[in-house]
Structures are given as structure tokens and as C-alpha cells.
Amino acid sequence: MGTPTPLESRLSRVKTPGEPIIVFERVFLAFGDNVILKDISFELRAGFTKIFLGASGAGKSTILKLILGLLKPQTGKIWVNGVRVDTLSESDMMKVRDDVGMVFQEGALFDSLSVRENVGYKLYEESDMDLNDVHRRVEEVLGWVELEEHIDKMPSQLSGGQRRRVAIARAMTFQPRILLYDEPTTGLDPITSITIDDEIVKLRDIEGVSSLVVTHQLRDAFWVAERMAVRGPDGKVQIVPASPEKLAQTEFVMLRDGLIAFEGTASELRANNDPYLQLFLS
């Protein structure tokens, strides 16, 4: 065993806030002649949020699939929770996924299962938890997203916004430390989108979840970056403008032509004079 590199020693402290929980190092991915990601390197630190922006087909969702091991890169290295996942087998990847929740585009709820079964899926099917405890946890997370009264409905009976909130509940049921959001507000009206954004903010600030959000909805991206959740004196969670410290914990990443065109905070993004970024922001 040689001396650990600076990155390796930081990865070994992965449970410490501020240390890297997801690391991409020179990742390249192509499907045939179609190059999706050319040379992607970034870090998501524990307790922080990264928001990926970019045009359709820029490779934003692909990054989430790489983190979950649903795709493998051709070259480059990926660490999740201190484990290198780009070389892991599917069965070993299952252990890594125990600490990563994902909210898919359109929710990807299981059509044949009720809201209760969808939300508790992992605990019902993949854990030895007592059934009463599972029921209690399902009710608790549905209460968190304010959908308790819909517990016995089927996904087809829910509205688009409710489906996304159930998907968020499903992703947080097993209390992962990392949550990945793939276009969580696409196709929703502005009011419903804000309820989803608030859930993302609450999970980050109250539950301490590290988040990676993929979106091309700028309004939602800035809402998540510039708001924070705090508990009021009555114990209720309130969404308020973010403190300077909290603002620094959310970074934007702009993907363009398979490369990172920009990486920085919300204010740095607004101040950037790059014509492409300006066009994107306009």
C-alpha cells in the first residue's frame, strides 16, 4: 500500500461534513459515435447541493445514472460515499445504492403498487424491518410531503405534482444521505414546482441530505439555491431566504458539449459574462 493521495485521504473522511461524498474524475462516456460526457470532473461535498444546468441532451441525467451505477463510464473514476463505483459489479453496487435515493423524471412510480407500497417498497421488499415499523415510517414520510390522505391510492389517481412528491417520499424512506433529483419540476405548473423545490430545501437543511439536482428550470434552480429551511419557534419548518453561509453551500454546474462550461455559486452564475450562459439565463 502506497501513501494515500490527497483525494484518497479526503475520501476516507467521507462521513465528515464538507468532505467529498461524490467525486467525478475525468469521466468520459459515449454511446457509439455519440459522445455524451467528454471530460467531467467535480465534487459534491457532504451536506452541500449541486445543481446541474444545461440544454436537453447535455448529459445531465446521464451523470445521475453514472452515480447510481445504472451506466458505466468508458474512462474516468467515480466515487460515491468513498467507494469507487465505476468498477463495481451490479451486486456490489446494491450496497452503495442503500445510501443513495433518486427521484426520477416523471416520478417512475410503480403503476401496479399503491402509494403506500411505492413509498415503502425498499423497506417492504429489501429489508427485514418489522411490518408495523415500515407502516409507521411510510406514514411519517408521506406526512413530510403532506400526502398522508392519499396513502391507499394508486399512482394513476394522483396529479403530476403529487406523483413527484410521492417519488421524493419513496427516495427518502430509507433515509439515504445522498438524494439525486432528475428534472423534479419539469412539466409542472409554477405553484406545484415551488412545493417540490421546498421539499428539496427541507430535505437538505432539516435532514442534512447531500443533493444533486438536474434541471433546466432556472427559476426552480435559483429557488433551491437561494432559500433555506429552518424550524420556527412553534417547531414548524419555514422556508426563508438563505444565509450567506447556506448560499455558499449550493453550487451550479453548467454542462455544454460534454464539458463543464461553468461551476460556481448563484451570484457567480448571475455575474458571469459568457454569452452562452447569458443566453441560457435570459
Binding site: L68, V100, M102, F104, A108, F110, Y121, E126
Partner: protein, 257 residues
Amino acid sequence: MQLFITGWAKKAFFEVQEYVKLCVALARAATSRPFYYRDVVEQLDAVGVGSLTVVLLTGGFTGAVLALQSGMTLDQFGARSVVGRLISASMIKELGPVLTALMVTGRVGSGIAAELGSMAVTDQLNALRALGTDPVRKLALPRVIAGVVMVPILTVISDFVGIVGAWITTVTQLRVASSVYWNSVVMGLYIQDIWMGLIKPVFLGFALVSIACFVGMRTTGGTQGVGRSTTQAVVAGSVAVLVLDFIITKLLISLLY
């Protein structure tokens, strides 16, 4: 032209390779934990009980029409009385297994491809994997087990109903005595025929369901892709049933007779 043929051959080879990978994954899933018992029971019901009506109708009418046609041919030799011998051998060795498998391909294979295809295009398969569940264990294996168990059972039912259908036709249309028919049915059967009639559907059941799972789980291209997969599953499953039937028959003839 050469480029087209090379491209086609490469694609075909890749598809076969991926199908073999699925079969290996199924074998591994069948011999290791976790095992989803409840899904297996659900699929046994969906494949077996759900296909019963279509199998009963197919078996019954095939037996009946076979008796009519055979009766006409046998009349030329004055051998109408041995119609039962022909019916039992044909139904048990060939028509029962193949027609049942084809009917199950049409009913179950298309359903599996559509269901798994919809799950694939709406990211539900990825969601399963993200939640720590292997889709091969959870979705494909229970369906394949149901196919391997239920297709032979449905075949036996189809054989029986076919022979009964032929009996009704023989007695009412061909005017052959009931006792003569049943005696002929028993006389025409050998134990090897029974084995052939039982072994074949096991392989046919595996092939048709695993092909439907394979096609369904690889669906891309939205709802149009689901439609395409459904058609592919039925066409590929039906052709596979007929080709496999020939290969297994050849093999069993050399082994059993």
C-alpha cells in the same frame, strides 16, 4: 449489400449474446437469494389460470377438427375405427405442446413484453435497481418459473380436452362407437409419447417467457417502442417455439425411441 449483411449479422450476434447473458442471470437468480415467492405465486396464477380459457378452446376445437379431417382420410383405407390412435398420438406428441405454447405466447408473451416494456420506458426498471432490487430476480425469474411450470400443466389439459373434443366428433359425426374410439386412443399411445409430451412444453415454456422478458426489458422509444416490443415478443416467441419443437423432437426421438 455486404455491409448490410455484416451489420445485420453483428446485430443478430449481439442480440443472441445478450439473451444468453439474461439466461445466465436467470440461472444465477434461481440458485441464490433473495427469492420473491409472492411474485412467483402471482405469475403462476397469471400465466396458468389466466390462459386456461384460451387453451381449453384451442385444444377442444383442434381435437374436434383433427377427428373430422383424419376420419375423411382414414375412410379411403376403410380404417375409420382407428381414428383415436391418430388423435392421441398427434395431440399428445405434437399438437398439444405446440398449440398450447403458441397460445401462451400470444396471450402471456405479449402481456409480459408490454408490461416490462412500459416499465422500461418509464424508468421503472431503473427505479427498481436504484431501490436495490435486481429486475431479473423480481420480474423475469418469477415469470420464467411460471412459464416452465404452467405450460406443461396447460399442455396436459389441452391434450385431454383435445382428445375429448375428438371423441365427441368421432361419435356424433363419424359414427364410430365410443368404446372403439377410447380403445384406439389407448392402443396408439406409448410411454415414450407421454414423456415427449411432457418434456417438450418445459423447454417451450422457458423459451417463450424468457424471450418475452428479454424483449420487454430492452424496450426503448416510448409507447411506440412498447408496441414494437409486443409484436417482436410474439413473433420471436412463436418462431422459437416452432424451431425448438423441431430440435427437441429430433433429440427426444433419438434418445427415447
